[in-house]
């Protein structure tokens, strides 16, 4: 059978969301929100490259509004989602949309590039239907991050010993790491770890955040 992409009943029944399209609105805002969480701070500049169906129908579906809403931290059911472009403008964020004619792996794809000073992040996200998403590229590295799996994303100073410190917390808690991706920011002093795990414990987030040189840690499910 083809790859199993949907794991939860709530991938099919849900999300509760502001219309009109789960892939082009809810999924788009989820991609934006994940990217914002990985970036860890408000960007000064946002460039969004849109591909295939996203490129051709983004205005009708509010994809632009949704991605920016997500980048401002909004969830798909946030009633302020429709005002996101104005809110970004008021916050002094420079936003640009660039529809592309290139072929990509998935018809609902967006590359989001965030910048603040030297801090830069480039992420390719796919909206695979029903509001479900996948992150397939981070700063030029191929990754596969899908929502629905417990995942930690850490942003930390690029110094020795960070991987050992992080994995020790999981092994001490008896939590198995499924996959782990380590990458550096394109330009800057930070590195990023994406860790998919088999279990959740409430205190792990705080313990990860307490590691010296840790800048930010986020948890997704």
């Amino acid at each position: 059978m083809p790859e199993v992409r949907f794991h939860s009943v709530f991938d099919i029944i849900g999300p509760v969301m502001v219309g009109p399209s789960s892939s082009h609105t809810a999924g788009a805002s989820r991609i934006g929100r994940v990217v914002r969480n990985i970036f860890g701070e408000a960007p000064a500049r946002i460039d969004v490259y849109l591909y295939e169906s996203f490129a051709k129908t983004y205005r009708g579906h509010g994809t632009d509004v949704a991605i920016i809403g997500g980048l401002l931290g909004m969830a798909p059911d946030d009633p302020h989602l429709r005002d996101s472009l104005r809110l970004a403008h008021e916050a002094g964020i420079k936003v640009t949309f660039i529809p592309k004619s290139d072929k990509v792996d998935h018809p609902n794809s967006a590359r989001i590039v965030l910048q603040k000073g030297d801090h830069k992040l480039s992420v390719l996200g796919e909206s695979i239907g029903g509001g479900n998403i996948r992150i397939t590229e981070l700063n030029g590295f191929k990754i596969s991050l899908s929502m629905g799996t417990p995942t930690y994303i850490t942003i930390h100073d690029d110094v020795p010993g960070m991987i050992a410190a992080v994995t020790k917390i999981f092994s001490d808690s008896g939590i198995n790491i499924g996959t782990m991706t380590v990458t550096r920011e394109a330009k800057g002093e930070h590195a990023i770890m994406i860790i998919e795990v088999d279990g959740y414990q409430a205190d792990i987030l705080a313990r990860l955040k307490a590691i010296p040189h840790m800048v930010n840690v986020t948890y997704f499910e």
Partner: protein, 287 residues
Amino acid sequence: MFYTIKELVAQSHDYPSVAELMIAVELENTTRTREQVRELMARNLEVMTQSVAEGVAGVQSVTGLTGGEAKKLDDYIAAGDWLSGEPILEAVRNAVAVNEVNAKMGLICATPTAGSAGVLAGVLTAVRERLNLSHDQQVDFLFTAGAFGLVIANNAGIAGAEGGCQEEVGSASAMAAASLVLAKGGTVEQASAAVAITLQNMLGLVCDPVAGLVEVPCVKRNALGASQAMVSADMALAGMISVIPTDEVIEAVRKVGVQLPSSLRETGEGGLAATPTAVRLKQEIFG
């Protein structure tokens, strides 16, 4: 976990119901408790019910392309002089209502997507009083639909951009038909047949939104998807079977989806979206 309809049917015999099997799988795959899972689903039900009520009262989309037609159907039903039948027309009206709310960027529950959100909410709210479904049974109705939907999603898809409307309103109608069969007291084998019967008729349906908007023809495809779920369920309950096994039908859906050209997969470039009127409307709306 079940990956095929065959496995779903077989595994469901170890549980009191398909809904209970789905809940067991959910608990296995996530860190949520049974109470949290049921609460989350109850919240989905609440939003679905609200969106029906909001749409039947009458709404207008942001562009003005759609809206106000659930209200027309409501008046038509109330007049009592129809052709097809009250339960079907109520499912149709309620499906239209949800999609009209969706088109105006209102709050809906995607089932499995926003563009196909009308079907499941439409049929459930049309039958729940007729079948005397308790609140818990209505929540189970959604778990059941989710179980059948998961198999379709993993073996074909649920996004119009990937595989056309046959995968979007098609999957919504198929899973709604399955839930209807079980809510009416049918067997899981009959529910499986209802899925196959529905998908066979949806096979090849393209995704061709006018001006790229989830309005035309999406609202009416949801309406007719809901009516088809009701009829497929009745056909299966009458004992009609699918000659082609359900899993093979789903595989056919996937293959047809792959064969659909990009212009018929939510790019707004083919089908109804390429008609002169659609081109004019797009120009008027977006300039």
